[in-house]
Symmetry: D2
Subunit: 432 residues, 4 copies
């Protein structure tokens, strides 16, 4: 967790206060169920609800002594609750508390991430609609291909983040389980109804079968999903970085008026936010492999996963959360230069229409080979800087013999490329 | 692709014959749609269906010349079809064919993998039911904890592979799309109805918006899923390797009678299949990171993903497919030694029941501290090899004062631990 | 950085105080060189040495305003130094300070890691010499093979960590460079002699050619090395975990007398330190891929590496440092049970000598096939529990005809296996 | 191994013929040593040298039967050698042959990779010297910064690949070891002198201590090194891709005259080779993590590493080898457009000199604040397209009051930036 890439909402989920608070809630709910089942005396739950409390420092101090975090926590809680506290945790194993708590935290983190994705989606839709028909060159291999619109470009990202959202919901489902099943998952000393009660109250489903722990393939899937989403963040960040290059400058990250350092070199506005997002994507992705390595625990459990999760649990969710909001801000405030986009399209002198001319000639009865020769000889002149392709074609007698000026001009009509933009938008954003 | 870890069914999906066959199908279906729309003359589809053919060698030879695989393919097809072939591929871009084909291959691979998962699931269920009540020690940290049953152990794997199956279905959905949208995804030169037609015929859905390519976050999610499943393979393989250790020997990979090399050292039966699966899991997982790195293509596409996919596409699916079938075989034929499992449980002299005794003493009015002392002094004797815990307790006057021999024996009853096994099985396998 | 896996010595290297302190040192040394070259007035260095100071909070406050860390730092320093401060940083670019500082930190981290490796090596050598001739079974595939000694086992780890040390030294060299070369590395506004002076004073070598930044292949190699070392930590941790399994119990992590929780179940001593090390190894390794992805910066630099390094820089070094010291402690205090090792060797009834018997029979003129049959029939009886192999062979008339009791007993002599232990120790630890 | 990314020289190293050939050499050399030591009869080595042979198909057939590759190999060799063959492999374990062979292959692969690196280095040096003083804009964050030369740019890559070469040599050393130490590395049945003899003859050093296998930290370091080198390949490939973008076009991959597909769109020359290299870098890097996971084998060995190495051994070396030669070709034939580089420099109207003007004004007694205002107001005009900076400054009366036209022109002198290029070249390439 790097403070400058941390939003407090997400950091709070991973704070000791929150963690111990969830532990207390789990213990209290379990006690409630035991009380209902007559396993522990009446009144315990009430006592815990009324007087249950803890202090992080005190827990830490006790842990240094007993070297066991759950025992330290229970000891501290007992200091507040008194006598009734000894009925807490009956028949439970530490992992019942720890693993269910981790899942609660991961579910909450998922909810925040879904919020971040929603903000990104909203920003993308707004800007896509705004630039639905803003022409821009499409590029394959970094080379100009055919025109598209900036709105369509953004629509591809919207669709991608829509998928990201759906994946995040599935990831949330993966870890929204509760296990209170005892030392090796057999419920030897704890009734399954207790698990059911706690699960229901926490908005989780019961883990059908656990060992001592909740199976780590669930967590692996969750972190793998974060990695995929981070890669989508990287794709959008990379697009902005490309568009902001000095030679392209078709869009720019918003640069606040007070922002220092570049007034004497007005071109020196660096895409630092999206470069930063590129790095954050790498960081988030780095959680995937250790999460996969965490799956194959030995027998009913070993504890090797624990140190890994102390790292990647907070780090991957905090950094992705921060990245999503930073990304949303970039999109919301992106400075778009439609005139530069148009300039880019024009810069090739109309060469991107070569193939349309070729097809038109063929349709007017010229053989494929001859059409090719005709187009090529004019295209090469444009490429050498001798004029734009339309003008050259208009003066080429062999072309004139087949295509009128009006027909030629129509072949250079940009709108031709945008006739299905409505369809695409409908597919992506739904009916208008 | 390593031949010895390859099943022919999966290899075939990735063969040049299959790939070109899918290309031909895509081109034919697109032609069919164009013919229906009156874009190309009637009869083209019929001609292609009747005479369409290709030779891999010939395509390779042409590609060496023209350095373009789709053009080479179309040229070769035209040699068979004749005149009508020139209407094929009209308005399409190579990626329309390549990317849709890759998705068809990945869908087929997913179907084979689902088959492999089904075989694993079936084997696990059969063996779990067989050993539903076979007692075995549960281990946390590699240390004996409480008893469980071998059936419950297998049930945890069944539940995990059930999740793996659900994930694989989602991964299949992720890449079951078709894009025929032209050079930058605008349908400038190709009607969206053609895409719809090809998609429907191939059992795919249309890609709502593509650039030149089908977005690679889909593929990333697919490979990430393979990585998670491979990690579950590793968990089961690791379990078997542990059980087959000389000191444990509670289960063993089947060892065919003719299998060489160990008759003079009958204990030297190595768990080579599951060790191999552990390695294959690493190999499959290694596809995840490059797949994530493939997402952020530049602008409307760059072709950096292509070489990666030529590697990980076949490799990850082939190795996981092989691993699933090898794993299923291991489970189907696993030699289980219930008597050794019982011997293991007994080897601790009943120490795993210490906590039950402690609770019983507390319930019979002994203070927690005194109970602890009573249990501990006997437990330590057992640990030093002075007798099993039950016998020692029976002769300890302080214990005798509180618990009868019958009560003590009941506390050592194994069945106690298995009272919820039915519940667990119902949760995992459904009602009997 | 996870507090519980952090030693203060390493944390300090990555603290803001240390970082800004290094910045100040770099700026001061650069000023000194400039003063020597007559580029800035005499007395500046003296002033900075006397009054140079900073406050982390103040720098943070200024940075929030100007959004530039180096400017914030210089402003704060100027508040202390006064007038002369404006000559600091002349012709330098922020990366000159940032990148050289990072390398200083990484060099210091390397030195701490080398110290940790030395402690591990010392512990391994001490314990290896102690158990030079403690017999233990060698295991391949987890199956008993032939005897070795516990000292030889530890020697393999010693040799591995010796290699780790050599690699760490090379990694230190990789990043022990200094670059003060200006905005794009051309020294346009800064004399190369300044770089040479700062480098020499900091114990670094000059970076032969930099862009704006020190090339990131150096850092990649450094983090890759940490990943390899972490994997060696994992191998040793895994060995201990295996040895501590209930069924094996040939060695155990030291368990402090006051350590809670297992007195009633004396066998329940969990190898939590080495399990933790296994997880830490995964965490450290997770730095490798992002470090590799950091290499391909755009043109003369982009800043995507920065957020990555803010994470992996402290995290990977802190966790590996902690892991090395935890590992050293495990080895230093490892409780070794030679009698259990011997019990393990004996548990197979002498089967591990099968092949020696076979060879001896062949040498005594029995055909290979007959020898095999003789050995096999006795080995199978041992395997079935009908007696140890030596006793059975002594009573097998066909064997007796060829080998005397003395000869047979010699074939079961453990010392046979250890005749080259001296040689191995000499190779690994050098002449005694 | 993907055929189209494979050079036959490297593929050959990994062929079955080569592998079995190395096995035969190892067995023969071991026999030679045994013969010298009088362990096996005289004449065996001669017989094997004269008649030793094998057929891959035959070995495969035998392996299908006996399920053991080394036994299959020895059986086949015996079919050729006859009687004497039974003395081969005496006291050896399969891993002695397999692991030493793998190292021989990896050493040979390293030698080929060193050759590839040399070709890249040579190409970089040649082109760097050619363009030592070709001005080009340096870019940070993708934004124009200060001028540098194309030669200096290439020098940064030369220095990086020089480091790559040094790392590759170290990686070669890491795995240039030989182990012939028997079942658990104790030399129980094999004299250490045999290992020494084989090592010397194969140009390897002895492995100081092995278990059954050569320790995998060595291989991990090797593959980690390949990953770092692949990342350097990616950095150079990325640079070329950027330079070839339509908007930049300062350099281009060589495009052979016969190369199809773009004559009608002459700008459509795609940087497909460097895009491909970007993907290959991802593939090579994907070997690093499984190689790290291979280190922690269980006890004296488990065989999980084997399947991994069957994959990454050939794949990573073959793909990196191919990539290096492809990269060298790209550099050798790179089409450089110095005039476009100059056009880029000029495109900002001289804004990249803003800071030099600022400094000059300060040196001529203008206050820092006033200097800033003067520069800024002219820079903003240039940015708005109202003229290049030099012309505007010449007509600004406040500037004229301080700087003459000659002085101003001097401040726009490109050569200023290149005064230390000789120094840089000397550092990188050595004295001229």
């Amino acid at each position: 967790m790097i403070p400058r890439y941390t939003r407090p909402e997400m950091a709070e989920i991973w704070s000791p206060e929150t963690r111990f608070g969830i532990w207390l809630e789990i213990e209290t709910l379990a006690a409630e169920a035991m009380e209902n089942l007559g396993i522990i005396p009446e009144g315990v739950t009430k006592a815990v609800r009324e007087r249950g409390a803890f202090e992080v420092d005190r827990i830490d101090a006790i842990e240094r002594e007993v070297k066991h975090d759950v025992i330290a926590f229970l000891t501290n809680v007992a200091e507040h609750v008194g006598e009734e506290a000894r009925f807490l945790h009956k028949g439970m194993t530490s992992s019942d508390v720890l693993d269910t708590c981790l899942n609660v935290q991961m579910v909450r983190a998922a909810d925040l991430l879904l919020g971040g994705l929603d903000r990104v989606l909203k920003a993308l839709e707004t800007r896509a609609r705004e630039h639905k028909f803003t022409p821009t060159i499409g590029r394959s291999h970094g080379i100009h291909a055919e025109p598209t619109t900036f709105g369509v470009k953004l629509a591809t990202f919207y669709a991608e983040f829509k998928r990201a959202r759906a994946r995040m919901e599935l990831a949330r489902e993966e870890i929204a389980t509760c296990a209170i099943s005892g030392a090796v998952g057999t419920f030897a000393n704890i009734d399954p109804q207790i698990e059911a009660h706690v699960a229901a109250k926490l908005g989780l489903v019961i883990e059908p079968v656990s060992t001592q722990v909740i199976p780590r393939d669930r967590h692996a899937m969750y972190f793998a999903t974060l990695g995929v989403i981070a890669s989508s963040v990287e794709r959008l960040a990379t697009e902005v970085r490309h568009l902001q290059r000095t030679e392209v400058l078709e869009a720019e990250e918003f640069f606040s008026p007070g922002q220092k350092g570049s007034s004497a070199m007005p071109h020196k506005r660096n895409p630092v936010l999206t470069e930063n997002l590129t790095g954050l994507a790498r960081l988030v992705r780095s959680a995937v492999t250790p999460a996969l390595e965490n799956v194959a625990l030995w027998h009913e459990r070993d504890i090797s996963h624990s140190s890994v999760e102390r790292g990647i649990g907070p780090d991957a969710t905090i950094h992705l959360d921060f990245a999503l909001h930073r990304l949303a801000g970039v999109v919301e405030n992106l400075v778009v230069y439609p005139e530069n986009m148009m300039r880019t399209i024009d810069s090739m002198g109309g060469l991107h229409n070569s193939q349309r001319i070729l097809l038109a000639l063929v349709e007017h009865g010229v053989s494929r080979e001859d059409s090719y020769t005709l187009v090529q000889r004019n295209a090469m002149r444009t490429w050498r800087g001798e004029g734009n392709l339309l003008d050259l074609l208009k003066t080429d007698p062999d072309v004139k013999a087949k295509l009128t000026d009006e027909e030629l001009e129509a072949l250079f009509d940009l709108e031709y490329h945008f006739k299905h933009v409505d369809t695409i938008f409908e597919r992506v954003f739904g009916a208008a």
